[in-house]
Symmetry: C3
Subunit: 130 residues, 3 copies
């Protein structure tokens, strides 16, 4: 694999926060954004605005919630997180169109892009077993 293959693969597999913000504003119905972070719910109560929440550990059992005709954008914690990559692997193997949001929620927050805080009523169950 040469350098061009490497960049092509990265650009096919990922989308930056800035590019996703622009693309989803231009065509909101084209995308489904999914927060695939695992871990205790209280550390995940801030999410990217508009994201569905499907922890990577539950993903294989919840494929029916994910549309095949949209581009699925996955994110986890940060650039060093592999959880979105694991989720992307599952979805790609099942025929979905998928990209990872680079930098996860950390890069998104650094850019001051909109997030949501789950209220207590809507709080996540704290029993994902991770």
């Amino acid at each position: 694999m040469n350098a061009l293959d490497y960049f092509n693969a990265r650009l096919e597999a990922t989308i930056s926060p800035m590019d996703y913000m622009k693309a989803s504003k231009a065509d909101p119905n084209k995308y489904m954004l999914i927060d695939v972070r695992n871990g205790p719910a209280h550390v995940r109560n801030v999410t990217i605005h508009g994201a569905a929440i499907i922890p990577q550990q539950e993903l294989a059992d919840r494929l029916s919630e994910i549309p095949k005709d949209k581009e699925i954008i996955l994110y986890c914690w940060d650039v060093w997180c592999n959880t979105a990559a694991k989720a992307a692997k599952v979805l790609l193997e099942n025929g979905f169109k998928v990209k990872e949001l680079t930098g996860g929620i950390t890069a998104w927050k650094e850019l001051d892009f909109p997030v949501s805080t789950l209220t207590e009523e809507k709080a996540l169950p704290d029993d994902c077993g991770c």
Copy 2:
């Protein structure tokens, strides 16, 4: 692709701030460093010292400014930024020798490596359309 292919591809396609600093001191004429960030000029007025400025959106029209006999080093904002990867793709497809500076200007600044601040007279035009 196995793990060795992956590391070989990354090492062929990228250079770290520390390695670029060392290499460009040893042989300054070997490299051309280009800031390919898009976006309003005022948010890009701090650049890596010595960098040429060619926004990625203008790159395809400005290839004549780039020498084929140097190693072209591209950077954008941060590790999660895909702008340098997009620019690298264009340059590689046009026969240039290219590497991405890992971590962009953010990693460079974290290392306290030298930057330049554009003065008002030399300010960038704020009309790149991005």
Copy 3:
């Protein structure tokens, strides 16, 4: 290379701090963690708890210190650092099982995972020539 190949390669070549923490607790003898950072010793005196220290520049001469029956986990400074990738290349070419710890010691510290500070007596020699 398509997106699935890209994610498979990343997952084969790297392990996140969270995954390494969990895996090494479950089976401590399966892994050897190596700090491969180069540079003056005083800037490297904080290490990940339990790591062996073999600077990347010395690695080719110290392969006999590394077991072939363990999974070798390498780390350097941060996500933008290429030193662990260079070390991984050497080890993979010599038949070792290797992964890079994503995000290096910076991500590890951000997660408040345990580190060690070398005391003066145990201080690293400051003569690695880098």
